[in-house]
């Protein structure tokens, strides 16, 4: 249900909730199943990598406010992939608001 809330937002092409081992818990949208699986696996690895790098930045900068990392965005030429927690979204650039999508991702990822 909550994934559909994301899917109806302008620009969102596909949404996926993934598990800690990279498998798909739930998905919605226009991507075929094998691409959704790849997206989930990639997103889980990317989450780990970003979390690791965030810990490093936190450690060396001694600044609060970096860790624990919440998500990431990869902004491509025409498509953007954005993630918060264990949710990931594929978005067509130029349609809708990335800010609004990230805000909703943050809200839904805690459900």
């Amino acid at each position: 249900m909550s994934l559909k809330k994301l899917l109806v937002m302008d620009g969102v092409v596909a949404v996926c909730r993934f598990q800690d081992d990279g498998s798909v818990m739930d998905s919605a949208g226009m991507l075929p199943p094998d691409l959704i699986e790849r997206l989930a696996k990639f997103s889980q690895w990317y989450r780990r990598m970003v979390s690791g790098n965030m810990d490093l930045l936190s450690l060396f900068s001694q600044m609060r406010g970096w860790s624990p990392s919440q998500g990431w965005i990869v902004h491509g030429a025409q498509v953007t992939v954005c993630s918060h927690g264990n949710l990931v979204c594929m978005v067509q650039n130029g349609q809708g608001s990335l800010h609004d999508i990230m805000t909703l991702l943050a809200e839904i990822s805690h459900e």
């Binding site: 790098n53 490093l56 930045l57 450690l59 060396f60």
Partner: protein, 115 residues
Amino acid sequence: MTLDQLMDIPGALAAFTYSDKGDLTDHRVREGTEITPQVLDLLAHSCVANMAVATLEARGWENVTGQKGFEPLQGFSMVGLEWSAVVNGRCGVIVKNRDVNYETAFEAIHACAAA
């Protein structure tokens, strides 16, 4: 040192050079391996990322702990089950683990980058 000379180091399966952004600029691959230029290009991009992260780590470590000796970085290696990739900021070589000599490999890619 040239790429052809890099291919002479023990266990070498492939040798390559790449730009600052990770784009493959030249390569050699031993016949019979499954390494393709596409894979080398991916590897080169990961080398740029790994060297950047390792620099972050080296610099941060030296600043926070006061322990020197890491910067300037000489290279990074990813150790797989059968192969290792040994890289620096410009050159890389893939070597078979059973024949690998890490120190020779690091020296060789250093000489290649300096050329």
